[in-house]
Amino acid sequence: MASQLHKRKVSQMKLAVFGCSWSYGTNQQVDIEKSPPNWVRCLAKIRPDISITNFAFGGTSVQFSAFLFDKYAKEHDYTIFQITSPYRFTLWPEQFDFKEHMIKYEDNLTQLDNELYSDILNVSPAQIEIDPSWKLFFKHSRNVINFSKQYYKYMDSEYLWFEYNMFIEHITKQADLRFFHRIDPKWPLRDETYNTWCIQKILPAQQYQDYLLDDGDHFNQAGCEWQANYINDKYLQ
């Protein structure tokens, strides 16, 4: 009886993931062969008994994840918050219905539609420097793009750092599990302060390098499978 109850509980478990491309991949297609690797999708394969909703999306800011967490975390039994880098800027339309843009990628996995890239604007200071032509943002109005430039021009970088840490401290701490993907030399890792952990710190340096797919530190299929197994074995058994 107890074991049946346990099975029932496990089969009903609803898990949500929040984060950026380190949890979504650079883009996603329903046909897995056409999709860059994504550890959440690997987790869904090894745990068909868990219903997973992946609210992560490429290029998004910690505010974006915090907003979705604040709105949807309560609907799930277990929440995972992958903390992205600071100084990112994401804009989305007022009253945007994110749930309308969730689609089924696997039997037990719902993720945001790849088409969301045309509805939300993601900017980082590096992009502003690298891509002055703004060709990456062709679907967004000139006014919105100019606003994002002005945002970095006028908002004090020290305030943006404060704001980033505040979201980490006050939103992600409500998650059952939270972690950073990489150690970035530009900012101190906050794991000691905020009781988080970091994938790059756990893996031996060479293994981490072997798992990298591109210069954005996204993991290849082997890395994503390792990550899914690590999280499953350590936190979801």
């Binding site: 945007f96 919105v144 606003f147 002005q150 020290e158 305030y159 979201f167």
Partner: protein, 220 residues
């Protein structure tokens, strides 16, 4: 004892001069008069937003024995130059009181209603560049209200766990009923008797009441 106050015009007044007779009332100044044994630094400034106060709290609160955080309204925008030296702009208003000099030439402060009101714009935006004004317009147009609200509430939670005293000036605040509200303490009738303008700023008698209340209840 070193005490710091963080807030907006509800703690700074609309205008401050070293000559108190030329200044608008300010409860922090009344407190400094009442408690010459306390060294008071007032980091409040008119028109500023919650982010401004929280940022200064984060920078300076650890230098003080007691901190008072007055929560301002939401839907405000305030920005200042990178690496701005706020301490350089503190001046002595009374023997035991430091406050900001007029920061308006250096910082940009506005709110959603001022942006929507063409008459207010000419006053609030004087000496600001067209690009700064354009940014302010776009800020209220494009920033999702939901994220601004989440940020507002997160800041309140963060500071509430750190400040010695936190309070609302106005309203029966729906976000956090566990935080002291001047409006609630006074009751609507007395609260409105103390108000001297449409910005809900207190007159001299209201500021003196507030200084006495905080002194008696929290600083004895």
């Amino acid at each position: 004892m070193k005490l710091a106050v963080f807030g907006c015009s509800w703690s700074y007044g609309t205008i401050q001069h070293q000559n108190v007779n030329q200044s608008e009332p300010n409860w922090v100044r009344s407190l400094a008069r009442l408690r010459p044994d306390i060294s008071v630094t007032n980091f409040s400034h008119s028109g500023t937003n919650l982010q401004f106060s929280a940022y200064l709290f984060e920078q300076f609160a650890q230098d003080f024995d007691y901190t008072v955080f007055q929560i301002t309204g939401s839907s405000r925008l305030c920005f200042w130059p990178d690496q701005f030296d706020f301490e350089k702009h503190m001046i002595k208003f009374d023997n035991n009181l430091l406050q900001f000099d007029d920061l308006d030439p250096y910082i940009f402060s506005t709110n959603a209603s001022a942006i929507a009101d063409p008459e207010k714009k000419s006053y609030i935006f004087k000496a600001k560049t067209p690009d700064e004004i354009d940014f302010a317009h776009k800020y209220f147009k494009y920033m999702p209200l939901e994220i601004l609200e989440l940020e507002y509430q997160s800041i309140i939670s963060k500071i509430h766990s750190k400040a010695n005293l936190m309070f609302w000036h106005h309203g029966l605040e729906h976000h956090r009923s566990d935080i002291l509200s001047i409006n609630q303490i006074l009751g609507n009738e007395q609260y409105h008797k103390y108000i001297k303008d449409s910005g809900l700023h207190f007159g001299q008698d209201g500021c003196e009441w507030q200084a006495n209340y905080i002194n008696e209840k929290y600083l004895k």
